[in-house]
Amino acid sequence: MANDNLEDLKNGKRPATSANAEIMDIDELIQENAEKIRVGRDYQAVIPKLLVPPKNRRERLNRKALLVWSPTENISEIKLNEYILLSKEKYGYNSEQALGMLYWHHHDMEKALSDLSNFAPLPDDWSTDDKVTFESAFNSIGKNFLRIKQMMPDKPIASLVKYYYLWKNKRKKSSVIDRQAKKLASVRANENQNGSREGSSSAESEPDDKKDPGEGSSKQSCSICGVFVTTLHPTQKGSMCGTCHTHFRRTNGGIRPTLGPPRPNNRHLNVARNKRLPPRGMYVNHDDLQSIASGSNGQGETVLSAMDDEVVSLKCKIQSNKQEIGHVHKKLKLDVTEFRNVEPTPSRVISRWSNDEVMLAIQGMRKYGKDFKAIAETMGTKTQTHLKSFYSHYRKRYKLDTILQKYDAEQNTVIIELSDDEDEPVIRKDEPSSTITRQSTPSALASGTRLINKLTLNPKAHQTAAAAK
């Protein structure tokens, strides 16, 4: 329903002007009864007179809008990040609040740090009960926050909306209702009370029937779902884990279905169950799950929230790493094209070797070793494969191997020298050969950047050094 109605909302309110929309010529743009801008004192704004700008431009804006952060040069990005991280982990500030605190102390990091503890933000005031109520209300009412509010009178609508948007996309993964139902179910199982109907449906969907291959011998396997646990409940149908036992009691002796219709030997179910197993390298400990679900005083909650935090910080890390990679990629591309522009556009690639080219190739090997790609790029007239075959054909004739040895020997010294003086190796490697001078600058640069990539030095410094030549 939604979309059609929305179109109406925006389009249909003022009736459409002309039936045939296929107008391509301007003169046909004339639409007879088109909406017009109305003119008259009821419609136009009253234009203020132009004033002479005031001479004193004293900042008097503070009462209009409240400045909560202004950028500063004095604090490095890294320090700022550290500060934000600290205030987040220690006191639960979000980065906006942390920066607000810093600004409030006029960018004085010390003062802000010492004051952090005095203004620690209130923890999330949504209890699990609230979340459950919200979810059930949402499921029955939908996005009518006015009516949800009637069910949760202590929450302002603003808070409901805020929670809704945070919860919206995560609900598929961890439904609070399901979690709560599970918790209730295990509490009941532990206390050995005869439970109500409430948890029975969720018990079937519980994902905790995972195998734990790494566990020791003290644990026994449940005869129904095959999970390893420490405590088993003996029944006439074999010993069962807590979950299966609960189900057994509730259904008056029914066996808990693990997945699909129960089969006598659930080993055959392995293929289907694999889909529900956690990724490789990750194991779910049944006892942990139980302690999370049944732990008293929100013990499980804290464990879970700590894990959530960890996941979030890891995700942050992943995204920032991705950004870093993207940045490096971009820079690399940019740099390479920069150097390419310096080069004369490569002439035609011919497989025949001229004398000059032979000289170039040998010089290239002296410079790049067996990096045929780099040599090919420098020469422009030969491809990488050409050079490879050149190497295998003329290896003996031009004593290419000795050249390579020299290259290897030099390579080590060059790297060390480069870290001392960036200018040095460029000069040194520019062998006095008339044939190569034309390409010397780009090739030197190219080799330089390669080395620099190894050393992770600042390529800019090197560029300027080379450019000075």
Binding site: E35, R38, Y43, Q44, L67, Q97, L122, N144, L166
Partner: protein, 491 residues
């Protein structure tokens, strides 16, 4: 025009409450997108590069600088639980259907308008180069009528503020819908040129014909670019750049307001263009290059993940900062799946805007622009300097108590007066504000204002010292007299 490569001082207006307003089930307008944008800005590290302001709530008095008193009074009093008492007025003010009554409606309008007005004041004081208010941009609102999800026209209010110190203000609208509210407000003046690029033909709001060019003194000062479905980046640029170039040349504004409605992006729930975030951002980039005082406001945009992408990118453009295509992790990260990238790719929809069509429009508009006298003049009002300095009407109108409730609702930090403290402290150090403040608030009590309205005609002959406090009211009545005359002449 000169191209200024300097880093811009960027101010950003945002209230953390704005994302909590909810138009209603199934309604496409979601203020939450502003919070999503904000969250992205924080996590991209752009937040710390700007001055961040929390806007005040615009007072009724500020809003009635454009809107009618009745309309604002109505907005202030209507609530979901007393809607039924207002049936008649709701019809009259067009509130109810696509402009529903929702919880906190008036506050929402206050925040959105407060941001744009404060931003305009900031630009007037020349203490910022670019101001951004993504909560604003509600360009359909009329003087006494809500329209197209907009109730209070923050743009008009902002422009009116700019007009105090700027002879000519240029308004550009890249929302997919026609910026009818702003155009209407300034249809008869030559001090504001409105330029709107929009889908035209069987589309809301139905106005924005190529031949609508303004009226009276404002003839040729409204520029409409009617477009068809499927505008892509290249076509958009091919029409945006030459027209804005020409407009800048002929109109020579001293300040620019850009409405960055993001419903012109590809895949919008209501829009029908095919722009990418990059193409949309290019408009911002282009306007920014003129180096004029620049106010950027939000607007439409109904596929909220793309809206927040777009406005985040445009904030980066304003800052001249480069940001990675990979989105940083944020509170609403899941919304941006499956690719979690900043930039979006266009769809394969056909562009029904032929090159010749765009060319024809362009030429027709160029003809109109040629009719403009070069850089129209406006006499500067000879107001004694003392008067101006004392005048500061914006501050007079602010009730010092007005903002406190806002910080109370903001419960994130335990002692909730923390920010209000800083407010007091930041206020005019060493001006000896205390006594003066009292004075002012004493003078702005209601009876004084009423008097001003009654005596407004007499006011003109009074010595300026005396007018100052009542300046706005006086302005209004005087100029509306003018427009009366104008109407009379026309008829």
């Amino acid at each position: 025009m000169s191209i200024t490569p300097f880093k811009k001082r960027v101010c950003y207006y945002y209230d953390s409450d704005i994302g909590n307003y909810y138009y209603g089930q199934g309604h496409p307008m979601k203020p939450h997108r502003i919070r999503m944008t904000h969250n992205l800005l924080l996590n991209y590290g752009l937040y710390r590069k700007m001055e961040i302001y929390r806007p005040h709530k615009a007072t009724a008095e500020e809003m009635t600088k454009f809107h009618s008193d009745e309309y604002i009074r109505f907005l202030r009093s209507i609530r979901p639980d007393n809607m039924n008492d207002y049936n008649k007025q709701m019809q009259r003010f067009n509130v109810g259907e696509d402009c529903p009554v929702f919880d906190g409606l008036y506050e929402f309008c206050q925040l959105s308008a407060g941001g744009s007005v404060a931003a305009a004041v900031k630009l007037n004081k020349q203490s910022a180069d670019i101001c951004i208010n993504w909560g604003g941009g509600l360009h359909h609102a009329k003087k006494s009528e809500a329209s197209g999800f907009c109730y209070v026209n923050d743009i008009v209010l902002g422009i009116l503020e700019l007009l105090k110190y700027h002879q000519r203000v240029l308004y550009i609208d890249i929302d997919v819908h026609h910026g009818d509210g702003v155009e209407e407000a300034f249809y008869t003046t030559d001090r504001v040129m409105t330029v709107s690029f929009h889908k035209y033909g069987e589309y809301f709001p139905g106005t924005g014909d190529l031949r609508d060019i303004g009226a009276g003194k404002g003839k040729y000062y409204a520029v409409n670019i009617p477009l068809r479905d499927g505008m892509d980046d290249d076509s958009y640029e091919s029409i945006f750049v030459p027209i804005i170039t020409k407009v800048m040349e002929t109109f020579q504004p001293s300040a620019v307001v850009l409405q960055c409605g993001a419903d012109s992006l590809t895949g919008d729930r209501l829009g029908c263009f095919n722009l990418t975030v990059k193409g949309h951002g290019k408009c911002v980039e282009f306007v920014k290059r003129y180096g004029l005082p620049f106010l950027m406001v939000g607007g439409g945009g109904y596929t909220i993940r793309n809206v927040s992408r777009c406005w985040t990118y445009e904030t980066a453009v304003a800052l001249g900062a480069e940001i990675a295509n990979e989105l940083p992790y944020n509170d609403y990260f899941e919304y941006f799946g499956p690719d979690f990238k900043l930039h979006i790719s266009p769809s394969n929809m056909t562009n029904t805007n032929a090159t010749e069509y765009l060319e024809k429009i362009k030429n027709r508009l160029f003809e109109n622009l040629r009719m403009l006298p070069h850089a129209p003049g406006v006499q500067v009002q000879a107001i004694p300097e003392d008067g101006v300095r004392n005048e500061s009407e914006d501050e007079d109108n602010v009730n010092p108590d007005e903002r406190n409730p806002q910080s109370i609702t903001d419960k994130r930090i335990a002692p909730d007066n923390e920010f209000s403290d800083s407010e007091d402290e930041g206020m005019a150090p060493g001006v000896g504000g205390g006594g003066r403040k009292d004075n002012r608030s004493y003078k702005t009590v209601a009876p004084a204002r009423k008097q001003a309205r009654l005596d407004s005609n007499r006011m003109e002959v009074d010595e300026p010292e005396f007018n100052i406090l009542k300046d706005d009211k006086e302005d209004k009545s005087v100029s509306s007299d003018d427009s009366n005359k104008k109407d009379a002449v026309k008829s």
